[in-house]
Structures are given as C-alpha cells and as structure tokens.
Symmetry: C2
Subunit: 308 residues, 2 copies
C-alpha cells in the first residue's frame, strides 16, 4: 500500500520532539504539508491555516492535530468535512460534548478518528495490565509530580480556562489507570488547587474507587523541583507493583520486570495506520471524563500566584 499522505496542524514543541521522529520512522506515512501560525518543518510545504492547506493540497489523506485543545474542534471538523482521517493529540478536545460530536461526524463519514493517549503506549504498560489482571489488588496510588517550569515554560494556553493545568500531564496518568485496572473506577472526592492568578489548577488530589470498593488515590503536582515522579503503585497479593517513569519501568517487590526505551509516539502512529487500514476509529473518552468529573465534583482551593 502506498504511504498515507499526512499533514500536521500546530507545529510546536510536541511535534518537533515526538511526532516528526515517529513519522520519519514509519514507512506507512509521508508528511506532505503543515499548517501553523509560526512553526514550519524543513522541506515540507507550510501553510498558515488548515483551510489554506486543505485547499492547496487535496492529496492529504490524514491530519494530525497538535494545537492546544481549545482550538482543536474547528480544525477536526474541517478535516473530517474534507474527508481526511484525524489524529487528535491528547486531550482530544476542550469538552466531552465536542469530541462526541466529532465521533458522530467521523462515524457518519466512514473516516478514522483517533483520540490518542500516548502514555498508554509506554513500554511497561501492557505488562502491568497483565500483572494486575492476575492479582488481587488492595490499593492503588498514583503520583504524578513534575516541574511545570521545565516541561511547559511560558505556555500561556495551559493556564487558561480549558487548558487543564496540571491535568495536562495528569491525564496521562489517568489514561494509564483506565487501561491497566480490571474494573472501571469513578471519582468520589477531589481537591483542586488554583494559583490566585491562573484559571487552571497547579495541583490536584483525587480519590477514586471501583464497584468492588478498591481505593485509587492520585496526587498531581506541578511544583515538583528536583526528582520528577510519574509512578503508579499497587499493593497486591502478589507483591508491591510499581510502574515507574511514566510507564517505562515495572518492578514487583523491587525486582525489575521490564525497563525499556520510550516508544510511545512510534506506537501511536502504528496504531493510527492500523485503524485507518481497518476502517475504524479509536476514541476512548474515559480519561477526559475523569478530568471533567474532577472539575465538577472537586473542591477548589486557592494558593499563591504562579509566575513562569
């Protein structure tokens, strides 16, 4: 099969760091255009808007949408209306309802829509899921603490209403959680901490449980300097499971089971090619649903102002 002719919209840090290398390494895709207000990719025709790009390059088969979530719906709709398959960076949109609208539209047009969750493709996630399926889980603790100044320097959009704040990394943890646990969970309590000068939270404490009463607690914090922590720990009848480093490393009672190099975005593009080939979509909204639930149910606390 000839390569899928791909375009990228929103050329920023995540595109340069992750999408471009993954696409370059995947023979199923050929990057033929980009649209972005500022960013360009060497050697690839660049347009300043998705409308201009779709009009100028009808050969595009699929688009990857990498702009901030607040602006993703309109671009996705234009791409789907033009008959293109769509890859949505995470989170797939600013609201659940708008993504549900895209799902209906893609379905009605027979196009593939991919609500991507890159952390689910971290190397030790599948082994963790398999381990938990065979264990009795007593409790789960998620700790996702990083330094926002390092990972999101001067990204104003992430602090705006709808930018999700600390849930931008936190939703990665939730995308793993909803994939590895044997039963669905739901939120029973939450506290969200907002800097007094920002419209998005800098920290969150979440309490989930499942139908059987299993407690899952999560702590997200963007004020972590020094060692960065992206861990999920589970007490089980088969020992203490720790999925470390955002899903890269799995240990049971301190014994390393798996520790592999990051392959998330290459896996995402393999998956995107797979669903296009199969004529299907892949749009699990569970991680974003938990975030919306946390904003709806959560208590708000105000803390000192945050400045980059």
């Amino acid at each position: 099969m000839s390569p899928i002719k791909l375009a990228i919209v929103g050329v920023g840090k995540i595109v340069r760091d992750q999408h471009l290398p993954a696409i370059a390494g995947n023979g199923n895709f050929e990057l033929i255009a980009t649209a972005s207000r500022h960013g360009t990719v060497d050697g690839v025709p660049a347009y300043s808007s998705i409308e201009a790009m779709l009009e100028a390059v009808p050969a595009i088969d699929a688009v990857s949408l990498c702009m901030p979530p607040q602006y993703r719906y309109d671009a996705a709709r234009k791409a789907l209306d033009a008959g293109k398959h769509v890859f949505l960076e995470k989170p797939p949109g600013a609201t659940l309802s708008e993504v549900q609208d895209l799902i209906r539209l893609a379905d009605s047009k027979g196009l593939s829509l991919f609500a991507s969750w890159h952390s689910r493709y971290a190397p030790a996630v599948e082994a963790t899921r398999a381990f938990l399926a065979g264990a009795a889980i007593r409790s789960v603790e998620i700790i996702w603490k990083e330094d926002v100044r390092h990972w999101h320097p001067n990204q104003e959009w992430i602090w705006q209403a709808g930018g999700l704040g600390v849930f931008d990394p936190g939703i990665n943890a939730l995308s793993i959680m909803t994939h590895i646990l044997p039963n669905p969970v739901f939120l029973t309590g939450a506290e969200l901490t907002f800097p007094e000068n920002r419209d998005a939270p800098i920290a969150a404490s979440l309490a989930f449980r499942d139908q059987a009463g299993l407690a899952v607690n999560a702590e997200f914090d963007w004020r972590q300097t020094g060692k960065q922590t992206w861990d999920i720990r589970a007490e089980t009848d088969k020992g203490l499971m720790v999925l470390e480093s955002g899903g890269s490393k799995l240990t049971i009672d301190g014994r390393e089971q798996l520790n592999a190099a990051d392959d998330e975005y290459p896996s995402l593009y393999r998956r995107f090619a797979e669903i296009i080939s199969a004529g299907r979509s892949d749009t699990d909204l569970a991680p974003l649903t938990h975030v919306a639930d946390a904003f709806m149910l959560g208590k708000r606390r105000v803390t000192e102002a945050f400045h980059d």
Copy 2:
C-alpha cells in the same frame, strides 16, 4: 399486570411535592416502603437505610432514589445488586463515570435504569421540539433565573462540592435544550460565579454552539428575586419562539400556542413503567455532560458570600 411494588429512598421536599402525588395517581405503581434518615410517608413502612429496607421487604420491584446526588451511586448499586429497577432523580449522579458504571451494571443484569429529566416532560416541550424541527433557527437564548432562598432554603448539600449549585436548576434547562434542538451542541466558553464561602456556583453564563455554527447562550442565576424566569427563546425564520415557565407555555411571535398545567412527574412515572415493561433503560447523560464540561472549561469568578 399487577402493580410494580415501589420503594422510595430519601424522603424530602421533592418526594412530598412531586413523587408521592405522581405515584398515587398511577395504577401501575404501589408504594410499599421508604428508606430515609428522617422523612417518612404516612401509612407506608419506613426504614432508616436502604440496606435495612431491601432486607426487610424482598417484594420490592423498583426503587426511586431521591437523596442528594453525592449519595446516589451506593444506593443505586445496592438496589441493582438486589435485582431492583432504579429511578434516579436528576442529576443522576455526582460524576459521569459513576453513572456510566450504573448503566453497565443495569445492562448486565437486564434491569431498567431511568436517568430522569423531569423538565423534558413539561407540557409544551414536545410542541417546541416539533416547531424547531421545521424552522431555521438563528439564535437561542436560555434564561433560568430564580431565588435560591425560596426554592432551596437551607439545603446545605446543594452548596457543597458536587452539589452543583445553580446547575441544579440549570440542568433542567439543559435537559430541555438537548431535547428540542435539532443538532447536538457543545460548550465554547463559560463563566461560573462562586460565592466566596461556598463550593458551588451561584450563577453561570454558558456559550454553546452546534456543528452548523448556531449560537446558544444560557444565563443561570440564583439571585433573582421578584419575577422568576425559566425561559428558552429562539429567533427563527418562522418568528420568535418563547418556551416559558420552565416548559409550560409556548408562544410564537407573542401568540400562545400551548399553555397547560404541569404534568412532569406523572409523565416520569408513566415513562418508568413503560421502560420496565419493555425491559429497557433510559439514560441520556447529555445534560450532565454539559455541566461537567462547564466546570472543566469555565472561568471561575468569586463574588460576595451567600447566607441563607
């Protein structure tokens, strides 16, 4: 068919005002038990918890759950686990995820779960839906302004995180909106106003649109004294449509089309009997999804303290 043996959990104002008269007027139901911390119904065996009631009265076929939404999931799960059909007062739960869990459970057990939206059964709603289906809609405005001191005096739970604040009445407007408009809408912006001493909003401004660009604006406010307003107005090519008084009255260009007495809860119980008889559930989560989206996307403003 012999009547459905019904129990009510959470005997408060809405039960006395609405559920009891509706049940008394419907030959398909027989109220045989209640469970509540404080409230009782004359002549009906009363229990202090749903567990005690389910154990003492195995003949119960169905339960109506009318406690605050923060406490509804556990009761619903116990009722479904005991093989009972379940009627959920609105909103159906404190989170989307927990209601999705109940939907799966009811489905797996072949029981009927009813996420009720009483305002959808207001007398002029169906006529409004039919009118809008045949009109070109230019804009929609929702105004839902009432006096919380009158309608929710000293209801502490409604001001707690998860109590939804002004979205408790506002979700009624959203339940009508999602029923009468020809296309699904999604939120593009919101502002939520919280009293400085409360964890739930006292006012909200919401901007929605649909795929075709139709703008739908909603204003919810709990500080309205004097005339109370629960109106949905639409500018159309066939004139100005006004659905007034929470769905009771429909006018087009000022000409009254329909103005009927409230029949919402009797209609809800007719619907509940119908889905039990058909072996189906009725669980549209669109109104609660919009509320969760508003909390996630909305900007927060703090205003003066509210005291009952």
